[in-house]
């Protein structure tokens, strides 16, 4: 029996969450167990350096290069690592392709698993009880809340991220995007389109 249910030392810290964080940071810093400068560096990394722009580059490349796309769908981890996208929460990547017949939607019902090196830190709604509870059972109702309606002939395949495998959706290339450069294509790729709760932008 894990010695859990009666033993929750966190209650010894201040209850207000911002103060609770501050208190723990102070204790750990005083003991030399964390370095506040390292915390700043971690925050800067996920606030400014790693985010959906990485995934968008992968998608744009796949839209423009059939050989790259084939390799990506076959075994994504080394392919995205070659572009410099590897690391924590992206050690085992699988890319799944949307087609007119099948739309993919990614969720983590048990916690908040998400491909950090390609999409950064998940948005609040991805970690919400409502999304975790409902995406597996009623994906179309959830999609409607994002303003997405799928054609009748399209089935939905929901990916529940239960292991250390992380999923990225390869959305369908939008109509009217012929002849665009990779940068222009990347600008059409939204974060939500790579989770499956959105569609790429259509070129104006």
């Amino acid at each position: 029996m894990p010695h859990d249910d009666h033993d929750h030392p966190h209650a010894l810290l201040p209850p207000e969450p911002a103060l609770r964080v501050k208190a723990l940071e102070t204790i750990l810093t005083r003991k030399g167990l964390i370095d506040p400068a390292a915390l700043d560096e971690i925050i800067d990394t996920y606030q400014n350096k790693i985010g959906p722009q990485n995934g968008a580059r992968v998608v744009a490349k796949a839209w423009g290069n059939p050989d790259f796309k084939r390799a990506l769908l076959e075994d994504a981890t080394p392919v995205v690592a070659d572009l410099g996208f590897y690391g924590r929460q992206g050690e085992h990547m699988v890319v799944v392709e949307n087609t007119p017949q099948q739309h993919n939607l990614v969720v983590c019902t048990l916690c908040s698993c998400y491909p950090w090196p390609l999409l950064g830190i998940p948005p609040g709604w991805y970690k919400s009880d409502a999304y975790r509870a409902r995406a597996v059972r009623e994906p179309r109702k959830v999609l409607a809340e994002f303003g997405v309606t799928l054609p009748k002939e399209t089935s939905v395949r929901v990916r529940d991220s239960t292991a250390e495998v992380r999923y990225l959706v390869l959305p369908m290339r939008p109509e009217g995007s012929d002849g665009l450069s990779e940068d222009e294509l990347a600008a059409l790729v939204t974060r939500d389109s790579m989770i499956g709760t959105g569609l790429p932008k259509v070129p104006s």
Binding site: L13, D35, A38, L39, Q89, A133, F146, D160, V165, T190
Partner: protein
């Protein structure tokens, strides 16, 4: 038998509230601090990802439900620091005992952050466990969906998928078994599969006859159909 985090399929949570794509990564400064402290403390090497997930899951159901996301993180981290002997309850009470901590040499330095995050922590391991299932083969998941090594312990088979018939879609190789690893019982790597289930095998009223759910499941969660 159940834990409150296992909420897939649950009713009553209301609508999802999408945020604009350009919303800040961290809605509050303390969210960013909570994430960074958790990652930095993890690099002390006193636990693994399965242990830290279980620490969040075993918050009391009341706390798990009322805490916001990063409140769960920071509270579970405090519990984990005490449970693993890094801090004492007196430390959390703020009793200043001073002095350098024996693990202080392991503290993550600012200049190491980029390489630590880029290095990651792969979960695949060599294993002698034979691969029992082929792609396309029908399998049935264990029921009940529980840890069979530790009562009330960590597992990654959600309740909504217990006792369900599906088919092997992909073999991911051999991965650390969370049910063992979360309880410091060893990594026990075994084959991991993507298993596809028709929505009609999981829900009484699926939205569409062609809909499916795919879960990544370890070999010991599965039996031949």
């Amino acid at each position: 038998m159940t834990r409150v985090h296992d909420m897939g399929g649950r009713f009553g949570d209301g609508a999802v509230q999408p945020e604009p794509e350009d919303a800040p990564v961290f809605a509050e400064d303390w969210h960013a601090r909570a994430l960074a402290i958790t990652l930095a403390a993890g690099s002390l090497g006193q636990w693994n990802i399965d242990i830290s997930r279980h620490a969040r899951e075993k918050l009391s159901p009341k706390d798990y439900t009322r805490f916001s996301y990063y409140e769960k993180w920071i509270s579970a981290l405090a519990d984990l620091l005490v449970e693993s002997g890094v801090l004492s309850e007196d430390d959390l009470r703020g009793a200043d005992v001073g002095g350098k901590h024996p693990l202080a040499d392991r503290a993550m330095k600012a200049e190491a952050v980029a390489s630590v995050l880029a290095k990651g922590g792969p979960a695949d391991r060599p294993s002698n466990a034979p691969v029992k299932f082929d792609i396309g083969q029908e399998v049935v998941t264990a029921r009940p969906a529980v840890n069979r090594l530790v009562d009330g312990g960590h597992t990654r088979l959600p309740i909504y998928a217990a006792g369900a018939k599906g088919r092997i879609l992909k073999v991911h190789g051999t991965h650390v078994l969370p049910d063992s690893s979360a309880h410091r019982l060893g990594e026990a790597p075994e084959p991991l599969y993507a298993v596809v289930f028709p929505a009609s095998k999981l829900w009484t009223n699926p939205e569409h006859p062609g809909d499916e759910v795919v879960l990544d499941l370890w070999q010991s969660y599965l039996e031949p159909a």
